[in-house]
Symmetry: C2
Amino acid sequence: MNEKTLVTWHNHSVDRKRGCVVWFTGLSGSGKSTVANCVDAKLHQLGEASFVLDGDNIRHGLNASPELLEPIHGGEYAKRFGLSFGPQDREENIRRIGCVAEVFCSAGLIALTAFVSPYRADRNRVRDLVSETSTDPLSMDFVEVFVDTPIEICEQRDPKGLYKKARAGEIKGFTGIDAPYESPENPELHLDGELPVEELAEQVIEFLRSKSKLRR
Amino acid sequence: MNEKTLVTWHNHSVDRKRGCVVWFTGLSGSGKSTVANCVDAKLHQLGEASFVLDGDNIRHGLNASPELLEPIHGGEYAKRFGLSFGPQDREENIRRIGCVAEVFCSAGLIALTAFVSPYRADRNRVRDLVSETSTDPLSMDFVEVFVDTPIEICEQRDPKGLYKKARAGEIKGFTGIDAPYESPENPELHLDGELPVEELAEQVIEFLRSKSKLRR
């Protein structure tokens, strides 16, 4: 392999269609993950390449807690890079997820993310990152989906029993109880979280279709 | 949306074929990125879903330096999460890339990574992560590719002028000069980095085909 061949290939990046990032935000129990997974299943049926990023696949790997990192990487390392619930940790949590979603988007996939992501500033930084790296200024590469469900309903559902713990004071800084949720001001999609999942997922699919994000 | 629907959908994850991680390792200038990009282009032609993770798309986002993070997130945050060239930083660099590659693999893609990744322990941790999350014990989900190019050749090529800087003492801890490179002991593929890129890329494609990693 001579240097000329090397240089030639380096410029020869694959011409691939860019995907998009569908960023679900809302309270715990609002239905973000449920709707995202339903959209994912529908996209799969339609032959689209998509993937859900959520706590289940991120919290044990990329955004592992200090407790998970410590046995493998040592205490000092775990304290530095492991993510707990401090303000810096929460910010870094969303930053890393945003970066991964952007890479998925570059790879041509529809990345569906389902995280509470309560702060406007954090979400807007992801929006900026995805928009800045877009190759087509007219293409909508970042779709913010606000899953708007009244907190009373979320608390009734309480699928993981977190509201109960937060009310009992066992969890501090819980969004909606003793930490704020900043609603999106201009989300691309505003979903009524009290409607059936199927209907909400269809709204997302129709929106993506209207923005030419589906291949067929 | 009632709780029953919620639960139903949560269990309804998409049944998708798992991809794999093709982990290129070797000295700076060995040809890792070049071969990975050539493999990516060939896979694209074959209709396979693949993507290259390398310094170009990781260093400005997920593994940004403190200098890049500081203006946006502040100094303390940048110092904690930004990645420089200390031992912890290098370890975290590979850990994050490994986690992202694993997620790509779960999403059904062939993730091609091109990083020097000089330490055996770091590479083996990624191997363990990818193997542990595999759903099929017989499937080869982690393919370590050693791009074996003599350092004299790498230094002659010196595409980024880094060896020159390292020799001049302007870069400290440069792999192969004043920091070690630990060769893989049992890589799935051992490439002779002096052969033409096309030939090396074909070797990778043939290997993936032999392990049933190509759909057609």
